[in-house]
Symmetry: none
DNA sequence: AGAGGACATTCAGGAAACCTTCAGACGGCG
DNA sequence: CGCCGTCTGAAGGTTTCCTGAATGTCCTCT
């Protein structure tokens, strides 16, 4: 699943609140595997109880809940002195005014249906900005390939690269799992929205696009000689894809 | 999330006084995240107690409170020797004479409904004038683009630029977050009033206005040659907007 | 070597995101 | 009261992206 560079500082505690079991499980599995400690709640009232008991570092909160809606839950726990940032889950067709004011403070939101990469990226961005952690670096590196999660910049050997949103998400997922083979199914599940109905063949197309932009470059050395960059994206036939600095 | 240049001197302590929980939360979340230490009070009497106890550097005070009004609160705490500046929150339809005399000393006011940028900008301006801090610079720079928070002047390559109030707030928010992509929702939440009910599409319009004034200029060099300025505002498709000196 | 399967590449249509402009509404100011 | 700058919503045009399909290439097993 979404295995990250588990190295990152202390593991954060996250509470997931959603009434749909499938969404809950999806998030729990991913986040747990990504190294977070996860608790869940299926309703607003349960959420308040769980949050006050466990004092999480971050809360993932569906705004549409059977009993108490997400905004009210937020207000209640804030009154109790809990100031953990909230990542709201909203339906795309929610009226705009409902979404208003959601991005103040450390809070943020994603619209359903989301892709896991979106959620994980947002969580990291929030935690990076919220926690005191001075050492937190918005840059992810694999060899001479870098992506900056703040500016969304991508560079190879210092040279800027332009990626489309989906290309960026795919590359980010690969880099987050450097040295680990990811199946096409895994990639589909993380980079594309969870309600995607299409074919896994689209992964091949996007790998191809990515390779052309990232691995098919010529750079000029200090001494003026041109040479191709080392390809970083490897195909593991029958298994999937992986990114890493190739072994000699 | 405003005032991101967290680097700024020592964190100031602020007391927020308002009887509406939603306003309180909005301000607490934003200011806390912006690096301020925040306490709250929901009434005039509570305000006096909290202010005398915590000795804040600045007070945000709604003039319309259920028990003791804001002016009286100010008078009382002044009698107790507390001279922290006050940022008053007033209703737009408050008669002019009520607002009169609010800006004496270090004090200032904003009208409800406000935008977060307005509040944060005023807070910074007040603290800049109040504190000894010699190193505080009212000028924000990105490349050859400068805005002066004291005079509200905007210049590009030395040339003055006229901006409308909303254009200025938008530019200021972008520059305060140089090199970080801001979503349209974030921009809406910070630059527009918190009770805004409209569409996020308005952000696109204002980005367009801003570009025409800021990024679509011709300047004349010392040697008489004309050339276009580098565009500083970048679109990150599917993510948002960002300002910075472009890479290479 | 050949067949079959897995992967790579390319392309075009449609969709989505974005840019720009404009007219009307609104409010401040003379 | 009328003018003027500003704000807002909407429309139209443009660019970029996504997706599915078609075709080509490489690997593997027999």
């Amino acid at each position: 699943m979404s295995g990250m560079n588990a190295s990152k500082g202390t593991e954060a505690k996250i509470v997931v609140v959603d009434d749909e079991p499938s969404i809950r499980e999806l998030l729990v599995a991913s986040l747990h595997f990504a190294g977070y400690e996860v608790e869940t709640a299926a309703s607003g009232s349960e959420a308040i109880e769980v949050i006050e008991r466990t004092k999480p570092d971050l809360i993932i909160l569906d705004v549409m809940l059977p009993d108490i809606d997400g905004f009210t839950v937020t207000r209640r726990i804030r009154q109790e002195g809990i100031d953990a940032p909230v990542l709201f889950l909203t339906a795309r067709d929610d009226t705009q005014d409902k979404v208003m004011g959601l991005t103040v403070g450390g809070d943020d939101y994603v619209t359903k249906p989301f892709s896991l990469e979106e959620v994980v990226a947002r969580i990291r961005a929030i935690l990076r900005r919220t926690r005191e952690h001075v050492e937190d670096d918005p840059v992810i590196r694999v060899g001479d390939l870098e992506i900056n999660e703040d500016s969304h910049d991508v560079t190879r050997a210092g040279r800027p690269i332009d990626l489309s949103p989906t290309e960026y998400k795919l590359l980010r997922y690969l880099m987050d799992n450097e040295g680990r083979v990811l199946s096409k199914a895994q990639i589909l599940d993380h980079v594309w929205q969870y309600d995607w109905g299409g074919d896994a063949a689209i992964v091949e197309s996007y790998i191809s696009y990515l390779r052309k932009k990232v691995d098919d470059l010529e750079v000029t050395d200090e001494d003026g000689t041109k040479h191709k960059v080392q390809p970083l994206i490897e195909t593991k036939r029958g298994i999937g894809y992986m990114i890493r600095v190739p072994r000699s």
